[in-house]
């Protein structure tokens, strides 16, 4: 039976502000889930803390609303213990690139097969609008007493440096585009990041829906606004690394990602910046160590026989022990 959008609804009251970009991300995610060949019983959504992280309660799938900045720890732990799960993590830019940025970097090193969507609005909404890590230096959003004193983190560049194997950006109100990015991220074999730009109608009065939509920039010819975001693919950009590429070509590809990631302001690229499926995923690396890992991962190993006795053969284990744990023969 095909999954319908209504199947993904819960009865939980949605308390996001009217016009919040979170709605667009939620809608895109749900549309993507209905269009992908996934078993909804295997989908586990993880979130951090913040407005965006309440998303899991509004979605009828296993939902784990964790700690501020720690969503990737919980999500990776679950995926490793049961690789059959389709794990999708969500959280804000403060959550993932501020308090949780250490985990962000190390998740890239592992390259576990899962997806991570950052709701990127430049502010800490739930605590009333402080500057978040992606807000640019000198910007003064509505509730800041002084302009932002820190430079911004560039999530695309940081993801590349950290070893993410799928790096994309989209925009919360371009739900069709974001939906496609989510589908690609989930289908990608490895750790996939989507930097989802989103307005915060309450606290970010600079990067607003109108700003992204270019309503201050009317095309003199068509008399229509010129949106700031543009689709990378439409420019012929290709960020895919393939197995037959030389080291040199891979290097050039990386430079192209960095170059595109630096565009901001009047031209904001969206789309897949980088995709590399030649890097073995963590699960494959684990299988090298434990050949039975994928067949009987931690969550699926039977621990005891029917009488409750452990299945582990302690005597054999003891025999394998090295000198420090010397076992005497009879």
């Amino acid at each position: 039976m095909a999954l319908k959008l209504t199947d993904l609804k819960t009865d939980v009251h949605n308390d996001w502000c009217p016009g919040c970009g979170d709605f667009g991300i939620e809608a895109s995610l749900k549309m993507a889930l209905t269009e992908m060949p996934v078993d909804i019983n295997k989908v586990a959504l993880f979130s951090g803390i913040g407005c965006s992280s309440k998303l899991v309660h509004f979605t009828n799938a296993f939902g784990v609303h964790t700690l501020h900045g720690r969503v990737l720890g919980y999500a990776q732990g679950a995926k490793l213990a049961n690789p059959d799960l389709e794990v999708i993590a969500v959280g804000g830019d403060g959550d993932g690139l501020g308090i949780g940025v250490g985990h962000f970097v190390h998740a890239g090193r592992r390259n576990i097969d899962m997806a991570y969507i950052i709701h990127d609005n430049g502010v800490y909404g739930l605590t009333k609008g402080q500057a978040a890590p992606t807000l640019h230096l000198g910007m003064q959003t509505k509730s800041l007493p002084e302009p932002n004193i820190n430079s911004n983190i560039n999530p695309i560049m940081l993801a590349l440096a950290s070893g993410f194997t799928f790096i994309a950006r989209s925009y919360a109100y371009n739900t069709r585009h974001l939906k496609e990015m989510i589908k690609k991220a989930v289908a990608h074999k490895g750790f996939a990041l989507i930097d989802a730009l989103q307005p915060c109608p309450t606290y970010n009065d600079i990067n607003t829906k109108e700003w992204y939509g270019g309503e201050d920039r009317i095309d003199p010819a068509t008399k229509r606004p010129m949106p700031r975001t543009y689709d990378l693919e439409s420019t012929g950009y290709n960020g895919r690394i393939t197995a037959d590429m030389s080291e040199d070509d891979v290097g050039k590809n990386h430079l192209q990602v960095i170059e595109k990631s630096r565009e901001w302001g009047d031209k904001i690229p969206i789309g897949v910046f980088y995709q590399n499926e030649t890097v073995p995923i963590y699960e494959e690396r684990l299988s090298e160590r434990s050949p039975s890992y994928l067949k009987t991962p931690p969550a699926k190993q039977q621990l005891a026989k029917n009488d409750g006795k452990s299945v582990v053969n302690l005597a054999n284990l003891s025999k394998e022990l090295l000198f420090e744990s010397l076992v005497l023969a009879h």
Binding site: A61, T296, P298, A304, G308, V311, V312, N313, L321, V327
Partner: protein, 656 residues
């Protein structure tokens, strides 16, 4: 020396040297040979927080009966560097022996730059008082005057001869066998058959034939060289005895074995002393034989993951536990400090997460490689807010093994984070034990919903946090069809959705906390505490303690009872939920209660006061980073009994 004064199978042997020079392996080879000869051992390992250079030492006590602690006096000091000799010679009791390199005799104490200045000054002052020079010779003279036998072992000659025999011209390649030479020389003066030594060497270097050969040849030469020095039998002798199979284990290994048997299939960790040894052991035994189960013909496996920090360690383990895998993380004080927010989340979401916590000297970095039991009150209250947790403390190797299984049972049955509290003394010391039984503690998974159950029927949705009589709700895991659920660190309703309603809050808090009463009811008494009675009907003194002080207390009890002092010992193992009634009952009829703990303030005494309103007035504490010895407890308990009013707080200080 008369024959009657020879002590058989009862001695303490010590070796030492720069860290990384093979001190641990020589002690293991020594202990291994003793175990192969049927004897029982206890090993005390002391080292600095450093990789190479600073002094470390290892004391091995040997006996024909099971022993559980170290003693103050050393009977044989086997040295192969000057520093060990200078630092430890005064610990050798009259009648004992010192093995040393005669080429070190003229070394001046203040020229050994790895010895701290206060130690140099202390030793030089001691020698000056006796009119002795501040050199190794002075140290040797002092020992000789005290009645210690000196055995110069010409290590360099032996190494040269070994090199000649195996046809190796580069002597430096052989220099590292010096530690084994000191072990061989020790066995010669102790009269212990060299075949056990050779077997032990073979086990130690099992995979390296060439290394075995060079060590065995050197050992033979050292054994013979030491033997020629014996003018009369040495007053301490080792003789093989018949015995059952036994294991020589370190505490971290006992815990790791227990975890594997107990079904732990995910372990996360961030490197920290002394906990990391356990994770490394698990990783190197990550695939193991199973019989039965759902994976016939295949191996069981544990996923060991090194994380970026302890926050990731606890959150990853928690995520893993949500899938139904038995998951644990293992750490020490500083790491646990980082974990506490995650601990609270696991409490709020009723996740069966296991944390193995190895205490070491605190606060802050404290004494990273030294022993302390300073975290009891911290683990009892760590993280903001109130939530239930299990805290279980093991006292020795066997308990560590079985408790490592039980802690998972508790975690799953009562659905709460469960802390297995161990300490550095237990973690790093070694001990000979009878092999534990894999099936003594059956695996109990509580209200875990079986994975093959399809769906939850029609109508009623599954409620992960359903209100129940005992507070424990049927537990589904991520990915189970028909059992969708939500988790959140916020207060939540039965479904797991955020709910701030005050009535729900009262019910949900009560539900969670009720599980602690359920645990208190269901966990049997003999898993909560051990009580060792006195041979007397009314004991003269009741010792109360917890953790690895168990070993020296039990050994000291034997000596005290021999002296006619009636001693009983209450070892508290489950600290949360606390066995209030039993502790109250035992302590209220005690003539004199003494609290023995390896911390400054007597934390268990404070817990006892809080739970039972009983004020344990007499305390024996130690916080210099070195574990308590049998002798220290024997002497200090006597001191307290002699005048309890005057000896309210005895501070122990032995150890180098």
């Amino acid at each position: 020396m008369s024959r009657a004064s020879v002590k058989i199978n009862d001695l303490s042997w010590m070796t030492g040297g720069p860290q990384g020079s093979g001190v641990d392996s020589s002690a293991n080879i020594f202990a291994g040979a003793c175990v192969l000869g049927g004897l029982w051992t206890f090993g005390l390992r002391e080292y600095y927080s450093s990789i190479k250079g600073p002094h470390s030492y290892f004391e091995v006590r040997v006996n024909s009966d099971k022993i559980r602690s170290h003693v103050n006096n050393v009977n044989v000091l086997a040295t192969f560097d000057a520093e060990t000799l200078i630092r430890h010679a005064d610990e050798v009791a009259p009648g004992g022996g010192i093995l040393y390199d005669p080429t070190f005799s003229s070394i001046e104490i203040d020229k050994v730059d790895t010895i701290e200045t206060p130690v140099v000054l202390r030793i030089k002052a001691r020698l000056a008082k006796q009119g002795l020079p501040g050199t190794v010779n002075g140290i040797l003279d002092e020992a000789r005057k005290r009645g210690v036998n000196l055995f110069p072992i010409p290590y360099n000659d032996i190494i040269a001869k070994t090199a000649a025999q195996i046809g190796e011209h580069q002597l430096s390649k052989l220099s590292r066998i010096v530690n084994v030479l000191s072990v061989a020389a020790s066995f010669a003066i102790l009269g212990f058959d060299e075949t056990y030594l050779n077997q032990s060497i073979e086990r130690a270097f099992a995979s390296k034939k060439k290394v075995v050969d060079m060590n065995e040849i050197g050992a033979k030469l050292a054994y013979d060289a030491a033997k020629t020095q014996l003018k009369q039998p040495f007053p301490f002798q080792l003789q093989p005895i018949q015995n059952q199979p036994r294991l020589l284990l370190m505490g971290v290994e006992a815990v790791a074995l227990g975890k594997l048997v107990g079904g732990c299939r995910v372990q996360t960790y961030y490197p920290i002393t002394p906990a990391a040894d356990e994770s490394e052991f698990l990783e190197s035994h990550g695939n193991f034989d199973i019989s039965g189960g759902n994976n016939p013909g295949q191996k069981g496996s544990i996923l060991v993951t090194q994380t970026e920090d302890e926050i990731a360690a606890i959150t990853m383990a928690t995520g893993a536990a949500l899938t139904g895998a038995r998951a644990a993380t293992s750490t020490s004080g500083p790491g646990f400090s980082l974990m506490v927010e995650g601990l609270g989340w696991a409490g709020m979401n009723e996740v069966p997460l296991v944390i193995t916590h190895y205490q070491r000297g605190g606060p802050a970095t404290g004494q990273p490689t030294r022993h302390e039991q300073g975290d009891l009150k911290f683990v009892l209250s760590a993280a903001h807010g109130e939530f239930p947790r299990i805290v279980l403390c093991s006292g020795d190797m066997e308990e560590s093994f079985y408790d490592a299984i039980r802690i998972f049972n508790y975690a799953e049955r009562f659905q709460m984070p469960s802390i297995h509290l161990i300490d550095k003394g237990l973690a790093n010391n070694s001990m000979t034990i009878s092999p534990p039984k894999a099936d003594l503690v059956p695996i109990q998974r509580g209200k875990l919903i079986e994975a093959d159950h399809q769906g939850n029927g029609e109508g009623e949705p599954y409620r992960r946090f359903a209100f129940t009589q005992d507070g424990v709700s049927p537990r589904a895991v991520l990915g189970m069809p028909g059992y969708r659920f939500w988790n959140t660190g916020d207060e939540h309703d039965e479904m797991g959705h955020i709910e701030e309603d005050p009535d729900n809050r009262v019910k949900m808090m009560t539900k969670r906390m009720t599980k602690l009463d359920t645990a208190a009811k269901e966990i049997p008494e003999d898993e909560k505490f051990n009580f060792f009675p006195s041979s007397k009907k009314q004991a003269d003194v009741t010792i109360v303690s917890w953790g690895s002080t168990k070993g020296p207390i039990l050994d000291a009890m034997k000596l005290l009872e021999k002296d006619g002092i009636g001693v009983e010992f209450l070892q508290i193992r489950l600290v949360n939920p606390f066995p209030t009634d039993a502790v109250k009952q035992k302590l209220s009829r005690a003539k004199l209660t003494v609290d023995i703990e390896q911390n400054y303030s007597g934390q268990m005494a404070a817990v006892i006061a809080e739970k039972t309103m009983i004020d344990v007035k007499n305390k024996i504490v130690k916080f210099n980073g070195r574990p308590m010895s049998q002798d220290e407890i024997y002497q200090s308990v006597k001191q307290v009994i002699s005048n309890p009013e005057q000896n309210r707080r005895v501070v122990l200080t032995h150890g180098a």
